[in-house]
Every structure is written in structure tokens, then in C-alpha cells.
Symmetry: D2
Subunit: 260 residues, 4 copies
């Protein structure tokens, strides 16, 4: 049975005319002001997801709980985030499952942490580290907003320091100098388990491949993911959008081997 | 603590020289014969994942439990499968989480069902339908091989028939004529919940957009995902591979609105 | 021997700091005002191409005759233009050569006409048609600016009207309804000669393929061209740019068969 | 007036069923044997381009003079060639025109030389160099086959050696170590004139950028070109092909500045 929208929840308002979205946390007496009129929070509470709502000026919006990609895109950003297009690939590379214990080095703004926390579920655990305390604080506030704080342990950690975790099911690195974190990642992973990471340049890709091979990782792979949005209109026809994101980063995955 | 490899498990053997992989189910007395020599299953049992193994002719392999992308690619195929590059995007579009109840119409070979079953976990449920009983049988045998049968309910169903499911958290369609399944999908979904689907041509993309809008879906999006594999070699340098998959399908997502 | 820059010529000023470019026609007493200071035209005249010039505020520019891609991008635009990335493909599809007689239907802003006129040379001829006289006027002014008017014959023509040309070496179509111009193109072409065109949507692509086949064209091909700009920096490393043009149009080529 | 096909000409036979092509040089008594039957050369001579011809087993072909992209793809290959998708971009980067004098270092199999020779016309001149005499011989035989030998001067030359050319309108480099040829290119070019080149890896891209900047080139640009072939079928619909070329090389262009 569908659970109605409640105070304290993050809700996404989707504008019909242009597809723009607004994320609000519902508060008593709160009002969302848009360029197309106002929406009082109180009118949303108690209604089901997907509900239609008209602004004060008569424009139509729909109210949804944000999906994980929308939660990722709407974090308060202090850093570059992992984009949904890349995050999808990483979910498979890291072989996530409910109950998994996953290390993330380079919390950043916590966007990918939100996805990890959703997919490992209440019985899983995300150990997330960043060298900057202010990034961690911002990330934790993003994670708290989506009600996932109980699955996440965060800690300040320098790039080369050992991870205070053993037998991890997966490790994800998002750092300017990911090679520093490769030996600690090897130490923290269960045998055979996957590592994945994102790097911005060809040179870093090469450097991190070398670090992975030296540390004892095998089955190295690198890809980049291009997402093309397609415009579908009944009268004018179908074609890709004129603008696209050309690049975010190179994605890498590998697995921990054990010496015999 | 790392669980050793056991009889009855599916194990991936990764060949160091070329990166080729072989999936075997470990059996007493079983032997994997490759062009680079033989590997007796008995030598793998009891050893940890990631373990090194030499073939009868001295070539080096490593033994891993297959990650989900590898399990998907290694299903016995009776149909075109959903590729990992697209599956990652769909995980986010469908907003999967542990415990979710998900409908899949168009089981095909069950590759995507394997991913869905992994991500919803033991407390989730995948209701998967196909019009062809022989496809279902093959898919179930693939799902059973990976030990996920207890999370999956499969049933023969025609494309336009109602789904015997209510308040589903997500619906995924992979059909030649997905528009037929759009009204049943709307009926089966909880308010606000996402639908996603894959279609092979621009014309089908347009037709399914129309069906989605007419059935009461909003926030329609279409993309295609291009994955470029990158070749990283320490001496020769970094560049994309010369060949790539140019196209698999258009991916669509939308959400169920409710009328006020 | 290098010809110095002269009054009356179009000259491209390339800003070292950011790579921005400015196209000016050199005039006695003229001054280019940029956000980085002023450059008097008189200082450029008599100097060789590639010359360095400092603005009034000490910023460094270099003066070049514009290459054809730059001339194309700098036309005064009244319409969408054919982009250089697509124009390159079209040069080969149309099999251009010095002396060729080429028909262009849909002059638009004349950007592609400029390229055609350059490549057929003084002994070639471009017959360019547009249904809108104001477009033709603007296009001719662009073509005149680059000194190519003597190779171009322009005329107002409706989309379905016969081309007043025979035995053309190539025909290029850039129209909202290119199928209307396919039979006139067939009539105007020499046997075996190529046609090429650009269309914006999948539906138009299909419609124009049908028109081409019905009119007697064979060897039909369609492509799209993606250009990714690469950022090369000695310290930070190599990676694609973050933004790119995602789509401009589908390109088509075919050849006129003759019935036996 | 259309010129009929003659003995001694290279002719492309295009198979209707599958779009396969065969390039033959027409000879008295010659016969093309295909998997779909035989075509005697004598039946083609005297007929116009675009003519239909049935094989001995009744399959339909059409006879065309090859367009330049087809001539490029059909050269006898001793090396990797410049692909048409990249060649189109290079035509614009090199700002080719009838009468131009162009240097090519790294003749390879002569595919790009064929395009250069076509576009500079009988009054232009291609100076092409390769360190390997056997490559030059093969390339010249390819160029001769297409009747373009009179526009091409070929010579064995080591990568770092000065080009025996002055005031060239453009220089193109296709070498394993293009940085060696950058200073000779600078010396050979007219002031302001363009250089373009192709390199296979990110590392080489960076190295050649450095060489270009040090030698006195400005306005450096790097791109890669992706060509996606589109499948257009009236019944099944429109979609990109499933396989594509993922990478050929990075393309670079720059211009010679002059010191003041």
C-alpha cells in the first residue's frame, strides 16, 4: 500500500512544462517558490507520490520521492560528483548486493555514498573516508537528508593511510592520487573482491594501472561511458539532443588476487 | 572471513595472457579444458577466491566468483540480452533497493533478472513474465545456476495481459512491442514508482513514448549509453580500443503519476 | 613567397590566452576592440600571416587568414549551418574535385557553399538554390566577404522545382523536406554521380531513404559524426573536454544509377 | 556529358544484395569472379557510370567510378591508413584548395595522398615522404592506379630530415614519432599556414603538443572523430549499427606563427 508523503521527507517537484525539478524537504508552513508560482508544502503532505499539484499561478507539477539518481544530482556540492551514468557502471563493477561492506575513499560530496548506502541496504555498511573534514561534514549532511546515516561510517583519512576495515566486499576510490590508496585497498579487501575507481586523465589512468598491477590486482579494465540523451517528440521526430556531457572520467575495475 | 570455493558453485577462470574468461560449475572430478591446458575442478575447491592456478601446460589463470556483469554475459542465451552497460543505467532508473518488489516483462534469457534478483536481495521479489515458456525455462535454469531462484517468480504471460502484481516498486519492459505492456505496468505500479524499458529503434521509441504519456506516465526520458573500452599499456600508451559496440538499444524511464 | 595581409581581406585574430577568435575585414583606420584591448587594422597590413600583435593593453594575438572551417563558423547566420565536422564527411561523400559543377539546394547562410566554392576552385561552379530570397542575400554577402562570388550562381527556387542544371558532378541537399528535391536531383546529376544530404531526425532519414530508392539512387549510406575535442595540458594531462556537441544531423549519401 | 567507362579505369562494382564492393581495373577479356557469379569487364566498357549489370548467376550489381573514400579504402595496404572519417576533418584543418602545395610526411600506403592529390588538382603538388622505400613504391602504385601520379612527388626521407620544400601551403604528418618532423614542418611552411597530424595514443598527443609549441606553432587543437553508421530500414526502423570503429587516432591541427 502506498505510503503518503510526510513532513521531513525530501520530495522532488517535477515541472510539466520544461521538465525542471526542485528538491524540497517538507516542512510545516514551508513554501516552494518557483518562477512558475508557489507550492505550499502542506498541500503535499498526506498525498501519494506521483500526485499532481498546481502552483499559485496555475502551472502543473508532480510530486515524487526522488530516485537515487536525482538524490545524487541534488546533493549540496563541494566537489565534482560521480555522475549517474558512471555510477551505474560502477554498481556492476563493484558487484554490490544487500548486506555488502564497502569502502569508499574520497567521500567528496557524498553523491556516490548515497547510492552505495541505498544498495547495500540496512544490513550493509559503507565505510567512507576523505582527507578533508569539511567535505565529510557536507557529505554526511547530504546523506542524513536522505535518511541513510545509519548505514554509513565516515572518518577523516589521508590518501595513503591504511583503511580501518578488513575483508571488505568492495573498494571504490575517487581521489586526485588514487595510486596512494591502492595498497591500503588491497589490504582491506577480501580475496577475489573488486576494486573500482574513477580518474580524470589518461596519465592518471596509466599510473593507477601500474599501481594496481604492482599491488596484486588482476583483470584490470578501463572504460568511459557516454550518455546521449534522446529527444522524442511526436510531431518533430526523434533525434539526440544537441548538447551532451562529453567526458567525466575514466572508470577502472580490477580484482584482488591472492598469492599461492 | 573469506569463504573458500565449494563444489556446486559457479566459478570464473580468468586467463592472464589474454583476459579470456571461462565459467564453470565446480564438480567432483570435473575438468576445464582450455586451449591453454586443463584445470581440474578439485584443485580449486577449498581455496580462496582470487587464487592463482596453473594449467597442465603451465599457463596462469585466476579463479573468481563471477561478478554480476560476468554472470549476465555468461547466461545461456536464447535471446538478445540486456548488456551490463545498459543494465547499470537501468538500476538507477528503476531506483532498486533491498526488499524491492519488481516486475520484469520479457524475461528473455534472464540476464537482467539475475541482476535484479541480486540487488533486491533475499527479502525482495522479482516477478518475471515472458510469452514463451521455453525462454522462461532457459532463464530459470540460468537463475538457478547462480542460486537466485528463491527471489524470482516466473510465469508465462502475453504482452497485453494484466500483471498479477500490485503496488510494485518498479517495472521493467524488454519486449518487441512494449506499448502493449504499458497499461498493465501502470496498473501494477505503486503511485509515483518508476518504469524503465529498452527498445531497439527510433520508431519504437516514439511509439512507446506515446503509450507512456497516454497511460499516465510523466517525467519521460530516453538515452543511449555508449561504452568505450580503453587500452592501457605502460609502454605503448593509452587509447580507446579500435572496435566497440555501436548500439544496443534506446533506454527509457518514466514515473507513474496519479490523477487527483 | 608569402603574401602580406592587405586591406579588404578577412583576417582572423587569435587570442593566445583563451583561444578566442575574431574575424575582421581590414579597413584603413579600422580598429578591433576586444575585452583584452584594441588592435588597429593598420598595424596588420603589410605583415605576413601568423604575425604576432599586442593589443593596447599588452595582450598577445596572432593574425591569420581564416581557414575554411573558421570562415564557415563565422558566416553571418540566418539559419542553422552545416558544421565543419559534418562538412568534412560530405566533401568525401560528394567526391569533390577542382573544376566540379555542384548543385546545392538549401543555401541557408552559405557556410557550406563557402567550402564547396573553395574546393571546386576557379574552374568549378556552385549552383546554389534556396526558396527564401533573404537567405540567399545574406549567403551571397558571406560568400562575397571571402572573395568566392565568381564561382557561385545563386537563384531562388522552391523545393520541388527542377534544377536549371544538367550533368552535375554532385548534388547536396540541406532542406526541411529533402525528399521533395530528390527527383530534381536525380534529373540534374550525371550518371553514377553522388548525392549527399543532411536531415535532423530519424523519421526524415527514413523518408528520404525511401525517396532516394524510388528515384533511382543506390548505395545509400547514413552516418552521424561525433567530434570530441581533447584537452591537452602538459601538467594536468590529457582528457576529452567536458562539454561536446551531441548531435547536428544525420548525413546521407547515395549514387545515381541508370536503368539499362 | 557523361563519359563512358573505359579500359584501364578503376571501376567499383557495388552488389545490390549486401552492399559489398569490388574494385577492378578494366581489362580486355578480364573477368571479376564474385561469390555471386562472374562479371566480364568487356560488358562494362562503353557503358555509363551507374549502369546495372547482372552476374552470370543473375545477381544485380552497379558499376561506378570509385569515389575518393572508396579509392582510399581500396588501396593495397602495407600500413594502417588514414580513414575517410578522419580524412574529412583533415581536409578542413589543412585548408586545402586547388593549386595548393602540400607536404605529407609518412606516405604509408598512400591512401591520404590520393585524397590530397584529388583536392589540389592538376595545378597543385603533393610532396610526400616516407623513410621506407618499399612503402613508397606500394603507395605510388596505388596513386598510379587512380591516375594521380603527375601531381605527386615522392622521396625517401628520415623523420627528422629537412623537407626539400619551401613556402608550403600545408603539412600533414602521419608518423610513429611525429615530434621529429615538427621542426622541418615549421621550416617548410609558409607563414601562418596549417599543420595537421594524426597520433595513436594520449602520450603521443601530449608529446607532439609540446613539440608544436616549442617549434613556434599556435592555435593547437586536438579532436577525435567518431563515425556511427545508421541502419535505415522501412519496416524495422532506424537505429545505429551494432558494431562500430571505436578509435583510429587523435587528430591535431595548428598554425605557424612568425616571430616579430
Amino acid at each position: 500500500m502506498a505510503r503518503p508523503l510526510e513532513y521531513g521527507e525530501a520530495v522532488l517537484l517535477w515541472e510539466e512544462a520544461k521538465g525542471r525539478t526542485f528538491l524540497v524537504t517538507l516542512e510545516e508552513g514551508g513554501v516552494l517558490h518557483t518562477h512558475r508560482g508557489a507550492i505550499p508544502h502542506d498541500e503535499l503532505v498526506g498525498r501519494p507520490e506521483g500526485t499532481e499539484i498546481l502552483t499559485s499561478t496555475g502551472h502543473r507539477f508532480f510530486a515524487f520521492r526522488p530516485r537515487v539518481a536525482e538524490r545524487m544530482m541534488k546533493v549540496r556540492r563541494r566537489t565534482q560528483i560521480v555522475y549517474p551514468k558512471d555510477a551505474g557502471w560502477l554498481v556492476l563493477a563493484l558487484d554490490l548486493f544487500p548486506g555488502a561492506r564497502v569502502v569508499e575513499m574520497g567521500t567528496g560530496s557524498g553523491a556516490f555514498t548515497v547510492l552505495l548506502a541505498q544498495l547495500v541496504g540496512p544490513e550493509g555498511r559503507i565505510y567512507t573516508f576523505d582527507r578533508r573534514e569539511d567535505f565529510l561534514e557536507n557529505a554526511l549532511s547530504n546523506i542524513a537528508r536522505y535518511g541513510l546515516l545509519d548505514r554509513v561510517e565516515a572518518q577523516v583519512l589521508e590518501a595513503g593511510a591504511p583503511f580501518p576495515v578488513e575483508d571488505a566486499d568492495a573498494v571504490f576510490l575517487d581521489l586526485p592520487d588514487p595510486w596512494l590508496a591502492v595498497p591500503p585497498a588491497y589490504a582491506a579487501l577480501a580475496p577475489g573482491s573488486p576494486i573500482a575507481l574513477i580518474v580524470p586523465t589518461a596519465e592518471q589512468l596509466k599510473a593507477v594501472f601500474q599501481a594496481l598491477e604492482e599491488a596484486g590486482f588482476v583483470a584490470l579494465e578501463a572504460v568511459e561511458i557516454l550518455e546521449r540523451k534522446i529527444l522524442v517528440r511526436q510531431r518533430e521526430g526523434v533525434r539526440p539532443f544537441e548538447r551532451m556531457v562529453g567526458f567525466t572520467g575514466y572508470l577502472v575495475s580490477a580484482r584482488k588476487r591472492v598469492s599461492s
